[in-house]
C-alpha cells in the first residue's frame, strides 16, 4: 500500500480549513500536543502539519491565484528518513506513511533540513520533531465509523479538493484522478518521489457564444419586436387587425 493525498488546485480556495482541522485533530492525537508559543502575544506561532500559501502565476490582468496546501508528501524516497540518525523517523513498510516516533527523536532537525517541502516542524517546547501522520490514528481506528476513517483534512475540506487513498491500487480514486487530471508532484527534480500529488487547474475550452443578431437601432428593434408579436398573434388566426 502506498497511502497519500491528492490535492486539487483547481478547486482549492485557500480557506485554511484543512490546516486548522489538522491542528485540531492532531493536538490530541498520537503526536500531540501541537504546541503553540506566545499564543496571545507579539509573535504567535506553533506547530502545524499543514500550511496553506497563496501564489500568483503570471501578471495582471492575466494573473491567476493559486492556493497551495502543503503537508508531508510521504515521499517514496524520503531523505528525511534516511538522514535520521536515531531511527525516530521512518517510513512504514505496510503503507508508506512517514512517521516520527516521538520517543526516539533527539531533535537534531536534520530531517527537517532534508525535507524540501517544509513538512516537518520541531516542537521546540518538547524537543521533538513532528509532522503529518496521515492521520494514522484515524484511518486505522476501527472504532470510528467507516466513512470517518480518513484524514481530517480530507473530511473537512469544503471544496472537496483533498483525496486520500492508495496509490498502489490503480483503481483507487487517487490513482485515477492523477491519471485523468495530470496529477503531478512538486519539485520532482529533487528525486524524493513524493507520493502526494497535485491536480493542476482545469483548462476550460472557450465557451460558445450566441451568434450576434445585428438588429439595428433601438427604435427599429422595438418596432421589429412589435411587428413580431403582432405576426405571432396573427398567426394564431385570431388577429382582427
Amino acid at each position: 500500500m502506498k497511502l497519500g493525498l491528492v490535492i486539487d488546485l483547481d478547486t482549492c480556495v485557500g480557506c485554511h480549513a484543512c490546516a486548522v482541522a489538522c491542528k485540531q485533530w492532531n493536538t490530541s492525537g498520537t503526536t500531540g500536543p501541537l504546541t503553540d508559543y506566545d499564543p496571545y502575544g507579539r509573535e504567535p506561532s506553533g506547530v502545524w502539519f499543514n500550511r496553506i500559501r497563496n501564489f500568483e502565476v503570471d501578471e495582471y490582468p492575466n494573473s491567476k491565484t493559486i492556493n497551495t496546501p502543503m503537508s508531508c508528501m510521504h515521499c517514496d524516497d524520503a531523505a528525511c528518513v534516511t538522514v535520521c540518525p536515531t531511527g525516530a523517523s521512518y517510513k512504514r513498510e505496510e503503507d508508506g506513511i512517514v512517521l516520527v516516533d516521538q520517543s526516539k527523536c533527539m531533535g537534531c532537525n536534520l530531517c527537517a533540513w532534508a525535507c524540501p517541502y517544509g513538512a516537518r516542524e520541531l516542537d521546540e517546547d518538547q524537543g521533538v520533531m513532528k509532522k503529518c501522520t496521515l492521520c494514522v490514528d484515524r484511518i486505522y481506528d476501527e472504532n470510528l465509523p467507516k466513512d470517518e476513517r480518513q484524514p481530517v483534512c480530507v473530511l473537512t475540506c469544503p471544496t472537496h479538493a483533498r483525496f486520500f487513498g492508495d496509490f498502489d491500487d490503480p483503481d483507487s480514486q487517487v490513482s485515477s484522478l492523477v491519471r485523468e487530471r495530470g496529477g503531478y508532484a512538486m519539485m520532482p527534480e529533487l528525486g524524493y518521489k513524493p507520493v502526494n500529488k497535485y491536480l493542476p487547474p482545469r483548462q476550460r475550452p472557450a465557451s460558445p457564444m450566441m451568434e450576434k443578431r445585428e438588429g439595428g437601432e433601438k427604435e427599429s428593434l422595438i418596432g421589429k419586436w412589435m411587428k413580431r408579436q403582432k405576426d405571432a398573434f396573427n398567426s394564431l388566426g385570431k388577429g382582427t387587425h
Binding site: 478547486t11 480556495v13 485557500g14 480557506c15 485554511h16 480549513a17 486548522v20 482541522a21 491542528k23 485540531q24 485533530w25 490530541s28 498520537t30 503526536t31 500536543p33 503553540d36 508559543y37 499564543p39 496571545y40 502575544g41 507579539r42 504567535p44 502545524w48 500568483e56 495582471y60 490582468p61 494573473s63 491567476k64 491565484t65 492556493n67 517514496d76 524516497d77 528518513v81 536515531t86 531511527g87 517510513k91 505496510e94 516516533d101 516521538q102 520517543s103 526516539k104 490514528d137 473530511l155 473537512t156 475540506c157 471544496t159 472537496h160 518521489k193 465557451s207 450566441m210 433601438k218 428593434l221 422595438i222 419586436w225 412589435m226 408579436q229 403582432k230 385570431k238 382582427t240 387587425h241
Partner: protein
Amino acid sequence: MSVLPEFENHAEQTVKMTTCYMCACRCGIKVTMEGNEIRFIQGNPRHPVNKGVLCAKGNAGIMKQKSPAKLTQPLVRKAGTERGAGEFEPISWDKALDLLTERLRKIRSTDPKRLAFFTGRDQMQALTGFWASQFGTINWAAHGGFCSVNMAAGGLYMTGQSFWEFGDPDWDHAKYFMLWGVAEDHASNPIKIGLEKLKRRGAKFVAINPVRTGYQAIADEWIGIRPGTDGLLALSFAHVLLKHEQFDWDFLVRYTNSTQLVIDAPDTSRNGLLLRNESGELQVWDQASDSPASWTDSSHDNDIQAALFGEYLTDEGVRVKTVMTLLAEKYLSDEYAPENVAAITGVDADTIERLALEMAHVAFRETITIDTPWTDWTGRRHDKFVGRPVAMHAMRGISAHSNGFQSCRSIHLLQVLLGAVDCPGSHLAKPPFPKHIAPPIKPAWAMAPDTPLSSPPLGFPMAPEDLVIDHDGVPLRIDKAYSWEAPLANHGMMHMVITNAVKGDPYPIDTLILFMANMSWNSSMNTAEIQEMLRMKDEHGGYKLPFIVTSDAFHSEMVNYSDLVLPDTTYLERFDTISMLDRPISEPHAACDAIRQPVLEPDRDVRPWQEVLVDIGARLGFPALTRPDGEPKFKDYKDFIINWEKAPGIGFLAGWRGENGEQSMVGAPNQDQWQAYQDNDCFFEQHLPAGQRYYRFANKDYLEWASQVGFNAHSGPIVMELYSEVLQKFRLAGQGLYDGPKPVRQEDKQRLVQYFDPLPDWYVPLEEQRVDNEQYHFHAVNQRPMFMYHSWDSQNAWLRQIMAQNYLYMNRARGKGMGIKDLDWVWVESHHGRIRCQAKLMEGCNPDTVWTWNAIGKQSGTWGLSEDAPESQKGFLMNHLISELLPAQEGEHSLSNSDPVTGQAAWYDLKVNVYPAAPGETGLYPTFATVKRLPDMPPSPEVLHYHTHTPVNLERSMQDALSRGHLAGGDEP
C-alpha cells in the same frame, strides 16, 4: 500490517451534535468530548448546510472556548470613573438585572423609544425583534442595515427572492455561474461545496471582483472590475442581450410585470404609475381587443394576448407604454453600449459583449429540463421544468455601495431577461422565500407607554405613507430608517444610531442595548470619533448617551465602552434556536431550521442572553411573557420557545410540532420538541416534493403550501417587478407630484428624483460624486478572510497564527510606479481622515483599487491579547477613513453615508489617496490608548499544549530501526 495501539479510548468520550456559531453560516457539528474538554469538532455529514465539511473557523472552536478574553461575570462601570477608562466592578446577576429592569421599566412606562436595542451578528433576530416589539420601542434593528440590506431589498422588491442568505445558485445544474463581489459570504461552506460541484461538472465560473483571491482564484475567468460600477456592467450585459434579441419572451410575459402598462402623463400624480382598472387590477394591452385587459385575466385566458411591446392610448385618453418597451428603450440606448461602459467599469467592450452572448448561449441553447410535471398558478399543467442554467450570486461587493440597491436590481434584471430565476440551473430561493413583492409587513411607527407595538419594528414600505416619520417629515426612529433619507431601510441603520443619539437628532435616548455588536470598533464607521461620542457629555455633566448595556461573550472594544456588561455564554454552552421566522438555514429544496444545545457547562458566572431576555421581559411584564396575575408565563427560554406562538400553530421551531410531534411547520406546541431536535442532530429538514422545487413564484402547489405554513399571506402568484411602482411613488413624492406625503428638504427631493428610478439604474456612488477624484484616486474596499469572523477570531490562538496583521494590498505595477515596495509604510487618506499602514503589492488587483482584510486591527489591550500584539501594533482598520456622513454640501442637512434608497452603509464607496510615508515615518497611525484588563481576568497563557489525553505514541520497534537497510516503498535503483 502491524498491530496499532488503541490511540484513544472512545468509551470515555461522549458525542453531541449541535450547531456551529463561529460564524453565521450555521453548520451542523459533531462535538466529541472527553470530560469537560473538547476532543474534536467536526462537520455533521447529515446536516443540510455543511454536509459534513467544516471551515477553518469551525475547526478552531476549541480555541474560542479556551479564549482568555471570555467574560467571566457581570460588570458595572465603577462609580466615578469615566466611560471608556476601563474601570469595572463585578456585580451579581441579581443586582445587574434589578438595576437594568428598573431603568427599563421607567423608560417603558414613559417614552419607550428612549430605549434603543440594536444587535450585530445576531442570529436570533426573531427573538430580539419580538422582545423590542413587546417592550414597545421601534428603535430596534439588527446588522442588516450596515451589512447587506441592499441585497435583500433589491431582490425582494423585484423578484421576491434575493441573494445573501436567502437563496443559492443551483449548484447541481448551473452551467454558467457569475459571482459578483463575493469574498466569503454567509454561506461559507455551501458556496465552497457548490463551486466544486460546478467545476466538476465543467460549468463556467466567472468572477467579477476587483481582487483575485479566494473564490476568484479558482474562477475560469476573472473580471477585475472597478468598484462601484457593477450595476453599469450588468446593464451593459442587458444592452447586449436586447441588442441581439436574447431574452426570454415567454418568461417575461408570464412571470413578470413587463406587459403591464406604465402611464405616461408628465407632471401629473399618475405619471409613471401602472395602469389599473376601477377595481384596482393591473392592466396589460390586449392585442385581440386592442384595449386594456387585466393582467390576471390575461394570464388565465388564452384569448387575451398581452402585448410585450407597444405604446398605446386608452379610450380615456391615457397614454401608456408596456414596461418592456420602457425597459428596452432605456437599456438599448448608447449609454449602456459596451464601448461606452468599458472606460467606466474597466472591463473592455469585447469582453462585455462576449460574456453576455456566452450567457445567452447557455440560457437558450443549452437549456435543460427536469421531467417533473407541475402546475402553474393559473392551473396550467406543465410536463417539465425548463431550466436556463445561468446562475448568479452577489454580495457585499455590490451591496456595500451607495448604488447597491439599484446595482443589485440590475443583476436581477439580467437573470430575468435570461429567464433564469428559480428554474433548474439558476438562482434558487430558499424557503420561506420567494415572497410576494414586497412582504406585507409595514414598519411600526406608533408607540405608547407600557404597550407592545402593533407590528414589528421592521417591515416593507410600499409607498411614502408607510414611512416612519412624523407630520413634519421628521424621522421617528433613532437611526432615521424609513425616513426620506432612506425610505426602504428595511433592516434599519445601525451605523447611525450612536451618532444620531449623541447629537440628539432626531432626539436623545436614555439607554442603548447592544448585543453581539462591536460598535466602538470594527462595525462603526469613523471609529475614532465614535469612541469620542461615547464619552461625550452634556452641559450637566451627564453622558449624551446616558446608559450603555452590552451583551457580549468576550472582552471586545465595545465592552470597554459599556456601563453594564452582561456576559453571555459561548455557542457551545447554550440552547439556541435558528428559526425559520428569522434568517433561514433552509436549502433551496428543503425548509430547515435548527437548534443549539450545550455541549459543556460554563465555568464562569455567565448566562445565555436569550435566557436573560426572557427573564427581563417577564420582569417588565411583557404581555406575551406574563400571565394576567403578573407571573412569568414561561419557565425559561426553552419553555418559551416551545410554547409561544406567533400565529396559531406557528412558533420559533417548525419541526416536531403537534402534541405528539407528528406535525411539521404548523401544529400545536410539543413539550418534547427540544428533545426531538436533539434526537435529530439538532436540525429539522422538510424536503419539498419534486413538483414544488422550481418556479415557485408561480408554482401553484408550492404557493398554496407556502401560504398554509405561513410563509406567505396568500397563495397568489409572485409577479416579478422589473418596473417598480413603489420606487416611482417615491420619485413622484420627490417631484412634488405624489398624492400623499412629500419631502420638504431640497436634498431629499433631489435624491428621490435621482435615485428612485423604477427601472434598474446605475449612478456614480455618492462619495465619489462628492470628493475630488483626482486627489482621491483609489477605491478602497475590504474582504472577509475565510478563516476569521469580523472581530471575533483574533482571540483564537490558532486562527491568529494564520493572520495577526493586515496589509494594504495594491496592484504591483501601479504601486511600483508610485515608488511603493512590499512592506513599505504608506499613508492612506480619505476626505475624512488618514491612516498609516504597511503596503503589499500583488498582481490580481484592479489598478485603481486598494484593499485589506476586514477587522484584523484591534485596540490594544482587548481580546485577551498582549499590549504589543501585532493586531494592535500593525493591524489597521479602514473604518477610520470612512465617515458615517457624506461629505457636506452647501445648504444641505447632513446625510448618512448610505444607499439613498435602503440606508445600507456604503462601506465600499471609500475613495482614497495613497502615498509613501516619508523616510523614518513608520508605525501605525492612528493608535489608541491601551484598554485595561477586566477585573479577575486571568492572564493569557504564554504557551499552549492543548490536548485532551496523554498521546499514545506509535512506537517504531528497535528491531525495525536497526534492521531496515533502506526505505520500504522506495524503489531504489
